[in-house]
Structure formats: C-alpha cells, structure tokens
C-alpha cells in the first residue's frame, strides 16, 4: 500500500491536480508572451515544464544529458516518486557510478508536454477558464514535446547536449531531437524505439483510448470538474497496454496457468489466474498516479509520430549530414518495437553517413526490457557514453562495477 492508496478519491484527485499545477519538481514557467507554438498550428501560453536535475553542469556546459521518458513515465527518473513513494524509474541507468553517471554528468529529465506531473497537460488549469484544460488542450506531438524540452535546455544556457537518451516513446523523442536539432545533440541513445508508430501500435492505443472514453466517469473529459475519475476505463487501457510490454514467453515463465490464491477453478469471472490478478493490480495502481486525459494526449502524440513525414518517406534524408553519434538498442523479444524498426533507422543513418552503433540484446522480457535489470544494456550504454565522452573531451562515466 502506497501513500496515495490511503487517501479517499477526492484527496487523490486533489493530489494529482496539485502535481499538475504545482508539482514537487522545479518548474520553468513561460508567460503568455512566450507561448509554445505547436505542430498543429495552435499555440499554448502561458505554459510550464516541470523537471528534475541530478549532478553538476560543468563550466563549459558540455556534460549535460537529457533523459526522455516513456508514455507513462515522468521526470522522477532517479529519485523517489512524490505521489507513489516508489524509487525512480531508471535508477539502474542513472545515478552515482551508473552508466549515466551523476558524478560526471549533469542530468535533466522533464515531464513531457501533455503529461500530468507538472508540465502543461490536460489536467493543468486552463488560464482562460480557471478549470482543468481537459480536451480543450490542443493535441500535442513528439516534436512539440521536444520543442518544449529545447526551451528548458535554453534556460540552462546549454548550447549542445552531450547526450539525449530514452527508451520507447523516450527513444522517439531522442530521434526527434537528432532530426530537429542535429547541432545541439552530440550523441543520441534510442532504446526499443522506432522512427514511426506502426499500425499495430496505433491499434493498441486506440483500444486504450476507447476504454477510457467508454467509462461514464470520464464525463466527456470533464471528470476533474465533477470530482469523478474514470478509473475503470484507464485501468483497462493500462491492462491492455501492459500485455504489449511483455512477451508471451515471459508471461508464461512468470505466471503460466497458475491459479491465484485458490486450488481450483471457480467457474466464475473472478481473477482465477495469477495473470488476471497481476493485470488488475497493474491497472489499479496506474490510475492512482496517472491522469486519464493525459493518457489520451500522450498516446496520440506517439501515434502521430513519423519522422519520414517531413522528407517524402526518406528516413536517410532526415539525418543527412548529421554529426551526432548514434547508439540504437533493441531487444529480441520486443514485439511492440521490434528489432526491424531499429534496424531501419540504422540503415538510414548509414545511408546518411552517420556514426552509428547498434546492438540487439537477447532478452525474453519484451518491450519493458529497457527498464529491467539486464546488465548487457547498461554495459553497452556505459561503453557508448565512454567513447562519446572521449570524443567530446569530457570525463566519461565511472568504470563498470563487477558484474555489469
């Protein structure tokens, strides 16, 4: 039981609302006269971006690493979460002595645009109405998220990021950064990612959105005004999505057909199987910390992502002339962002004459592998950043501990 579970629904909503407008994280607030122009043609202002930093920016401002989080992640990459109290989501990657070594690098991680942890999103208060934006927030894209992050990087006076690193949707942002701001990205690490969202991926997202919108408590997106929360819909969305983050093999290894706290089938629709119980738990804990409308916006941003849209379908042309050093990583059992997607990016980068490393890691744990304790991934990122730091003339991460 986490801290938020002890609260009644109104108090839970209040805590989430408060994180959306007045997060525990530092915030860069941009006034109405410094709006953010969006890809849709709309603009938002005033707007804000919430972030965490770790480590120290060096005098030359050449040691900054930006971490981009995935769909349901947030800026709390290496510190305890203010709502759930759980450890950061990538403490194996980021921290003192880790591959993204906070003793050597200045690490920034910001909540994405459209998120619900302090960067402007549908749960934020719309200054025009005094109520939550809900669906009045314009649809945002991966490029919009990256442009918002670029304003934060400007704020720190950083001309060129030493590295931009992310997995899944974070990896999409990494590729968008490299495509939109090539001169500002010295090296790029995109893990379990793609240059575009596939039809199958869009399909899964649509199932999730329809589940949210089918919940009567969604109330046309105005649930926050009415003190309601479409928990059931969002939980179902999360359950469906969670399946796509794992592999058949890992599910079978973990749960098999084992029964949950019972000896026999009940011939009913209770959670007989452990996998059912597990998914229900995943769904219910997710709704405690995530805003349903944010889920709609951020999944939409992923669906709209296609780097080749700007170059008549040629991915190579997107990266032509780039001097960024790329590292791509995929996992053998990831069927959501399969290796072929990463390989297409690698081929395009080679066609563009870019410096690229590419590794497929053997793992049976599916798309979520990038978040898990798979030493090979950390060894590779550490090695890649060490080589890049050598080229940049800065200190690289500490040598690996025994066992990595």
């Amino acid at each position: 039981m986490t801290a938020i579970d002890a609260l009644d629904p109104d108090a839970q909503n209040a805590l989430k609302r408060s994180e959306a407008d007045h997060p525990s994280s530092p915030v860069l607030s941009c006034p109405a006269d410094a709006p953010l122009a969006l890809q849709s043609g709309a603009a938002i202002g005033p707007w804000q971006i919430a972030y965490q930093t770790y480590g120290t920016l060096n005098a030359g401002k050449s040691n900054a690493i930006l971490i981009c989080h995935a769909l349901t992640g947030d800026q709390h990459v290496a510190n305890d979460h203010p709502v759930t109290g759980k450890p950061g989501w990538w403490t194996l990657m980021v921290g003192p002595g880790r591959p993204i070594d906070t003793d050597r690098f200045f690490v920034i991680c910001a909540n994405v645009l459209g998120g619900c942890m302090g960067t402007t999103g549908p749960a934020s208060t719309n200054p025009a109405t005094g109520r939550a934006y809900g669906l009045d927030l314009p649809v945002v894209t991966i490029a919009d998220m990256v442009n918002a992050q670029a304003r934060l990087v400007d704020h720190f006076g950083i001309e060129t990021l030493f590295a931009v690193v992310g997995g899944s949707m974070g990896g999409m942002q990494v590729l968008e950064w490299a495509a939109s701001y090539p001169e500002r990205v010295f090296s790029a690490v995109a893990i379990a990612a793609s240059y575009r969202h596939s039809s199958q991926n869009i399909a899964f997202h649509e199932v999730g959105r329809q589940a949210v919108m089918a919940d009567p408590d969604w109330a046309g997106g105005r649930y926050l005004d009415q003190g309601r929360n479409p928990k059931k819909g969002l939980a179902v969305a999360r359950m469906a999505a969670h399946i796509t983050y794992m592999s058949d093999r890992s599910l079978h290894a973990k749960f098999g057909r084992n029964l949950q706290d019972r000896e026999h089938l009940t011939f009913g629709f209770d959670a007989d199987f452990q996998i059912e119980s597990y998914l229900r738990h995943q769904g219910m804990t997710f709704v405690d910390r995530f805003d349903a409308n944010s889920y709609l916006y951020v999944t939409r941003a992923m669906d709209y992502f296609d780097l080749t849209a700007r170059s008549d379908g040629s991915l190579s042309r997107v990266f032509k002339g780039t001097r960024t050093r790329f590292c791509l990583i995929s996992f053998t059992s990831d069927w959501l962002f399969p290796t072929a997607e990463s390989r297409a990016v690698v081929h395009a980068l080679n066609g563009a004459g870019a410096s690229v490393s590419f590794v497929e890691i053997d793992s049976d744990r599916g798309h979520d592998s990038f978040l898990l304790d798979i030493p090979e991934q950390y060894r590779i990122v550490r090695g890649f950043l060490t080589g890049a730091a050598r080229a940049r003339g800065i200190d690289g991460p500490a040598p690996p501990p025994a066992g990595e």
Partner: protein, 209 residues
C-alpha cells in the same frame, strides 16, 4: 568500459600491416570487425573515424561496449545501405573467405571505399598443399583451426585466385604484401607463384578508378 587495449600480436599478424596502409584521421569501415580489435588499434595509432560491421552479436556488443561504432550486420546483405565513396578505406580482414558471394562483396567494397584493404589466409600455402597432398584430409592448423563440417570459411582462395578476381572486376592492386607462417613480410619483388607457395597470408590494398 572503453577498452582500447591492443590485441595480442600473435593472434592477428596482419593488423600492424593494415595500420601501416591507413592514412591518419581517415574514415574507415571494418567489415567483419569481430570484437573491434583492429578498429581500436586504428583509432589509437591512426586516429581514424572508424565504423564496424560484425555478424556475431557477441562481437558487436563487445565492440559497442568498448566505445566503438559497430553495428550488427552481414557483408553479404548489409553493404548496399552505404552510399558510394562513403569511406576512405573499407577493410575486410580475414573475412572474405567466410562470405557467401565474395565477388559481389568485393565490388560493393570498391564502391563504398576509395581504397579497399583485404587480408585473407592463402589456401595455396605449401603447408595447406602438403596436408591435402600427404594427409588426404582438409587442412586443420593453428591458422585454419576448423574442420570441414563446422568451418565458417566457405570460400577459400589462393593469392593467385584473388589476383585473378581483382583483374576480373577491374580492381587495381596498389600494394600487395604476403606474410610467411611466422608473420614476417616476404620480399616484395618475389613473383606471384613464390608468394602463393610460401605466403601464409595475403594483404592487398585495392582501388577502382
């Protein structure tokens, strides 16, 4: 960890020779780069901008983990993606005999690189000839450690075979070096048939006008 330590000199006698053929600060693609030993050597002693392709996943992972730009790929399948003249040098070290279509691979290399360096074990070496002639078995030795049924080396050639292939595809042999069984250079002015008999390895620098 960035391990740029140099390989054991006994393992790959041709590395130093190849390094001598490469101009400093050039762009280099090493096809079949293994764990990245040659790339690491070239980055250290020639300050090259190096890239590698390697078939084995374990080799790729080791190369990337030591800070090299290496991708998983296959000389037979994955060279098409590179534009013409993308590199100053493309290196095929101890790999041509393991490709499915050596001729197409070599043509691709000559398209991608201004210069191409190929090194390979010479199947015309007297030791190989003697093992086949006297033993009646496919040769297995320190340099050719595989048995016929598990070898990745499916297209062995002799130095003279290789020179004939270069002629056929219009490649210019700019330099050729043969090494004896101890890794010593043979006199450069010996005729091909001598090299072909006592050269254990051939190292060729090629170009195509």
């Amino acid at each position: 960890m960035a391990d740029l330590s140099l390989p054991n000199p006994d393992v790959r006698v041709d590395f130093d020779l190849i390094a001598d053929l490469v101009d400093p600060k050039s762009r280099v693609l090493d096809v079949g780069c293994g764990d990245g030993d040659l790339l690491a050597l070239l980055e250290t002693v020639r300050q090259v901008d190096g890239r590698g392709i390697e078939l084995s996943q374990a080799g790729v992972n080791k190369g990337v983990a030591r800070g090299l730009a290496v991708i998983q790929g296959d000389a037979d399948r994955d060279l098409d993606q590179y534009p013409d003249r993308a590199f100053d040098y493309v290196i095929l070290s101890q790999t041509i005999q393991a490709t499915r279509n050596p001729k197409v691979v070599l043509e691709n290399l000559l398209r991608i690189g201004r210069k191409v360096i190929v090194s390979f074990p010479n199947f015309g070496h007297f030791d190989v000839r003697l093992r086949l002639l006297l033993g009646g078995r496919m040769p297995v030795s320190k340099r050719l450690p595989y048995t016929w049924y598990d070898t990745p080396n499916i297209h062995f050639c002799t130095i003279r075979d290789f020179v004939a292939l270069c002629d056929e595809i219009g490649a210019t042999v700019e330099r050729a070096i043969a090494l004896d069984g101890n890794g010593n250079k043979l006199p450069f002015n010996a005729p091909w048939w001598v090299w072909n008999l006592i050269g254990a390895q051939g190292v060729f620098l090629l170009s195509k006008p």
